[in-house]
């Protein structure tokens, strides 16, 4: 694998101007992705994880009053600075996207095969007949039985799981180098979710594309991603390999997220541990640790200074004033979320 990053996000800021004041949805986020790598982005609603993904492709509603700054280097260009026409080539071309609800992204009045073929003609310059044949091929590749027949059907005749497969076939049609999946399985039944997660993993390996998966579920990340980053109030608070994070979660917010859901392997073991309070509705932009008001470990410094990202292990960063101390006594046995609750 080449050492050159595929994607390099530098100091990304996204601010929405709303009637009740500015919302710093993304507040200085930097990260890189290598070709073919897999990255899970985890956080609660409003943590900025979806906005980060949308900002990479400037996918905002016309009605959004939004300001973006920073840089998004992808394939030798800064996606934040190229013109709209070139950006359209990247969207659905080199970068594919799938969302939680495939119905909102599919044209309800057009046969699914035609929709895929349209994208192939647009991005890959195929002829009508070539594109039609390739569309059937793509539907077969995402596990849709009888693809020739199904290609002629409207999205409404597909079940939720099959519709998400159609969406994935559309997203990979132009052989993207990066696939961004925003809560792709949240609306699906658990056995269907398992199928879709396996499909994403297999496609990543067979197509050699990178996968950025946005979710609130660490289990979903564990099944599909090598690396993980946790967001809170528009900032990255922890980055690590998923394997490393299981044993050495460092940031108190990560610990809170891991502890607050019931784990399947535990029988009833007392009450859950919700994180008290709520995330700030105005996002980041403060002069303290945004998590401090909800953090049971917070000290004075947390309330007066923004914590920097601190290396606490190999490729492991934690933005917490207590990160170094926590890393010291953070052995596997010491992981509070693993201890019997």
């Amino acid at each position: 694998m080449s050492g050159m990053p595929l994607l390099e996000v530098e100091d990304l800021h996204v601010t929405f101007r709303t009637a009740s004041g500015p919302v710093h949805a993304v507040d200085g986020v930097s990260f890189t992705m290598k070709p073919g790598s897999s990255l899970g982005v985890v956080g609660e609603s409003g943590s900025g994880k979806s906005v980060t993904a949308r900002a990479l492709l400037r996918l905002f509603a016309i009605t959004d009053d939004v300001q973006i700054s920073g840089a998004v280097h992808f394939d030798g260009q800064d996606l934040l600075r190229i013109d709209e026409r070139r950006l359209r080539d990247v969207r659905g071309g080199q970068i594919g996207m799938i969302f939680q609800d495939p119905l909102t992204s599919l044209n309800p009045l057009m046969a699914v095969g035609e929709q895929i073929a349209e994208s192939l003609r647009l991005h890959r310059g195929m002829s009508r007949s070539e594109a039609a044949a390739e569309a059937v091929e793509l539907l077969a590749r995402v596990g849709i039985a009888d693809p020739e027949q199904r290609a002629t059907e409207l999205p409404s005749s597909f079940s939720g799981g099959m519709r998400q497969r159609v969406m994935i076939s559309l997203a990979i049609a132009c052989r993207p180098r990066l696939l961004i999946a925003d809560e792709p399985t949240t609306a699906l039944d658990v056995t269907v979710q398992a199928e879709i997660l396996l499909l994403l993993d297999e496609l990543r390996r067979s197509e050699g594309m990178a996968l950025m998966l946005i979710t609130h579920d660490f289990g979903v990340v564990a099944a599909t991603c090598d690396d993980v980053q946790v967001m809170y109030a528009g900032k990255l608070v922890e980055k690590a390999s998923m394997a490393h994070l299981f044993d050495r979660a460092n940031h108190p917010y990560t610990e809170g997220l891991l502890r607050l859901v019931p784990r399947f392997e535990d029988a009833h073991t007392g009450r859950l541990h919700p994180i008290p309070g709520q995330p700030p509705i105005t996002g980041g932009g403060g002069s303290s640790c945004a998590f401090a008001p909800r953090c049971s470990y917070a000290v004075d410094r947390c309330r007066s200074e923004v914590p920097p990202e601190v290396a606490v292990g190999p490729q492991h960063l934690s933005a917490c004033w207590l990160a170094t101390d926590r890393a010291k006594d953070n052995t596997e046995a010491g992981q509070p979320w693993r201890r019997a609750q």
Binding site: E44, A223, V261, R271, L272
Partner: protein, 340 residues
């Protein structure tokens, strides 16, 4: 004694495409202070069953007995008088609350509708219910739109418990909520069950949540209960291939997560058949890796698993030959053990 007894309930619907059997001969029972988790995927009939128990949809067959009274035998008026003993919590807290009523009016509404108590005793009951679900007194005058999602669901729960029910039917009560709010609401339900000695039917598709809250579990597939037992029996030693597939599908935050999904893929094949044309014999056979000719010919009866008089029941012709393997991380030999 069981506070709720559901016996051989059948619910059929007419759809544009034909008649379907959404609930197909379901029996279950609930004791005071006990939580029964009902799991299964979209279209398995779990929500329809809940509505049938609430007498909100007509049943073609079977009976629902609440504290010994057959609800189906009651007149409309008699049924209304019983209703305060069985209450429901819904998935979408906002959609189930009248936007023009404030919190205390909303919570007091079931008492007024059922003509329970006088003004003073109602106000007291509302205050108690608010305290039980953890709503601060300060929100009593607020409208639903002024509440957070978690507070809205607390109002939904307070409305359900204010009439002092014996049975609480919860239909996906946390699935519309953000993860940190989910944990709060799960704790509220957990505490209520203990404090009020409620019998709870807890319907959810999230198996981790169900395992956390339930004493017993029933697994539904295409309108039928295919496996039931204590939570540790069903989730720890699943006997039905579908239960095994469901359990393996749960993505867990550990290193074996992807391997487990591969097991799930082997246990649940293809797509859910249409209720318009359900498979003959065993309902699960079209997706089952162990299906034989026998499965197409005869419907498997519910059979007891394990010790006599136990609660573990499964509907599968081959459960004895399918070696049970709880898909726990340390048991990496799962796939080999399962090959019959």
């Amino acid at each position: 004694m069981s506070v709720l007894e559901v016996d051989d309930v059948v619910v059929e619907f007419d759809t544009d495409a034909g008649r379907i059997t959404a609930v197909d001969g379901v029996s279950l029972h609930l004791a005071t202070g006990e939580t029964l988790g009902l799991v299964g995927e979209s279209g398995c009939g779990k929500s329809t069953l809940a509505r049938a128990i609430m007498q909100l949809v007509p049943m073609q067959r079977g009976s629902v007995r609440l504290e010994g009274t057959d609800l189906g035998s009651l007149s409309r008026r008699e049924l209304r008088r019983m209703r305060h003993r069985i209450q429901m919590v819904f998935q979408d807290p906002r959609g189930s609350l009248d936007p023009r009523m404030n919190v205390s009016t909303l919570i007091g509404e079931p008492l007024r509708v059922h003509g329970i108590g006088d003004r003073a005793s109602r106000a007291k009951a509302v205050a108690e219910a608010m305290e039980l679900v953890g709503l601060p007194v300060a929100v009593a005058d607020r409208l639903p739109s002024e509440l957070s999602g978690g507070q809205q669901q607390r109002v939904g729960i307070a409305r359900a418990i204010v009439t002092d029910p014996a049975v609480l039917v919860c239909d996906e009560p946390v699935s519309a909520l953000d993860v940190s709010i989910q944990a709060q609401i799960i704790n509220v339900l957990d505490e209520l069950r203990d404090e009020l000695d409620l019998a709870m039917l807890f319907i959810a598709h999230d198996l981790s949540v169900v395992r956390h809250l339930s004493d017993r579990v029933a697994v539904m597939y295409l309108g039928q209960i295919v496996e039931t037992g204590t939570a540790s029996e069903v989730f720890g030693e699943p006997r039905h291939p579908y239960t095994h597939g469901l359990i393996s599908s749960v993505p867990r935050a550990d290193a074996e997560s992807a391997a487990r999904l591969q097991t799930a893929r082997r246990m649940v094949l293809g797509e859910l058949p249409s209720l318009l044309d359900p498979p003959s014999g065993c309902r699960y056979r079209t997706r089952c890796p162990y299906a034989t000719a026998q499965c197409a010919e005869a419907e498997p009866p519910p059979e007891p698993v394990g010790r006599a008089g136990g609660l573990h029941m499964v509907r599968c012709h081959h459960w004895r030959t399918i070696v049970s393997a709880a898909p726990e991380p340390q048991e990496s030999a799962t796939s080999q053990e399962l090959a019959i």
